[in-house]
């Protein structure tokens, strides 16, 4: 990063009134909900949808859609921050804490790999997902999540850039060694803290 920002002649920003305690550096607030995905939006019929937790390659537990909806859920209102510079305030979700899922599975490991329909993966440390910091959500703004926004269920890890909130999530794999996910292998930062602007490799 350059120390002193370079002023661009002729440009005039919108000078929104942004609270630096709420808006991470390099972000702007939008009311849109842009979409970032690498390929076609997968469609997963609910009748065939299930959600699994693995210990490495060993299946620990699996829920059908109907079973998943009976797990203890909560409403979450949170700001989200996308690596493409937009942030959206006060998004409302409903879903199950990862704490709950791992308690029910009866296992913990230092790292988690989320795997999704369409073949996407994202990696997280256990520390980043425990303590009411991550959820598997299935409602947005009181409605089922639309497919292009990750429905029927996506991860929600709002304290990290939003690609970590993997869409179309189907399983969590507890692993001993960290393993970079889809975007993390393709130039995006392994950890992704928006407050440190951990956007890309070597950033």
């Amino acid at each position: 990063m350059t120390d002193k920002p370079l002023v661009t002649r002729g440009f005039r920003g919108r000078l929104r009134d942004t609270d630096p305690a709420r808006l991470p550096p390099g972000q702007y607030v939008t009311s849109d909900f842009p979409v970032l995905s690498a390929g076609p939006t997968p469609t997963s019929p609910l009748a065939r949808w299930d959600f699994s937790v693995y210990d490495d390659d060993t299946l620990l537990t699996r829920w059908t859609w109907a079973e998943f909806l009976t797990l203890p859920a909560e409403d979450v209102t949170t700001d989200i921050h996308c690596v493409t510079h937009w942030s959206k305030y006060d998004t409302r979700w409903r879903g199950v804490r990862l704490d709950t899922l791992f308690d029910l599975a009866g296992r913990r490991a230092p790292f988690v790999l989320a795997t999704c329909d369409g073949g996407y993966t994202t990696n997280l440390t256990l520390e980043d997902v425990l303590g009411a910091k991550a959820w598997v959500v299935y409602q947005y703004d009181g409605h089922p999540i639309e497919p292009e926004h990750g429905g029927p269920a996506r991860l929600l890890v709002p304290h990290l850039y939003f690609w970590k909130s993997a869409k179309w999530v189907r399983a969590l794999k507890l692993i001993q060694q960290d393993h970079p996910g889809f975007w993390e292998q393709r130039g995006y930062h392994n950890h992704a803290d928006p407050w440190k602007e951990e956007r890309y490799w070597e950033d």
């Binding site: 002649r9 440009f11 005039r12 920003g13 390099g26 690498a38 390929g39 939006t41 890309y200 070597e202």
Partner: protein, 248 residues
Amino acid sequence: MGGLTWRVARVLDTHQENASARSLHLHVPGWPGHRPGQHVDVRLTDERGDQAARSYSIASTPQGEHLTLTVVRVQDGEVSPYLVDDARPGDQFEVLGPIGGYFVWDAPGNAPLLLVAGGSGLVPLMCMLRARFTRPHGVPAALLYSLRAPDDTLFAHELDDYARRDASFVLTRTYTRTAPPGWTGLTGRVGATTLATVTTRPAGTPEPTAFVCGPTGFVERVARTLVELGFTPDHVRTERFGPTGRTA
């Protein structure tokens, strides 16, 4: 050198592509090079210290420390009106890049190339086409370009020239609102019928790699339709320029 850091870009010259789009030719000292399909983040700072950052695809093939961006004005936007209307030679702003490791095409293997563009989504696909035409025997390529009206056309001469020169490049335009006078080609939104005309291929030829870029709704529809037409999902690479068109 080489890492991803903000670098200073200086505008060398500009080229008006049409009434709402302009190409900016930039000099970026220390630019590490890029692959077709990648983009930069552009950061503008005003004299009050207010900043805005947006992503722009690189239109030009790698040429040392030079790159070209092509920007279409979004009405009432914060960044694009500056780039399309105000920036002039000598102006400076910051760029971070190159970014993107998936929506890229380096002419791997011999899979044909299927490019589907909506509006400004043509820009990264144009970079891929330009790269393909720098080679004497490029893979078969097809571009389906959806645009609202003739006034929105980007790179018209260059595209028509490619199509004339090389029979293994098929150029198809469709106009969604207004077609040019006397137009006998396609009109209307890209759907299964339109896509079928560019995706049918002789038996035994390899499945193309498809790159789809444009507004979110366009990309969603095209990518879904390609899968319905039999494409393997991981042969369909997408980039969505936003917006969703609704505030949800």
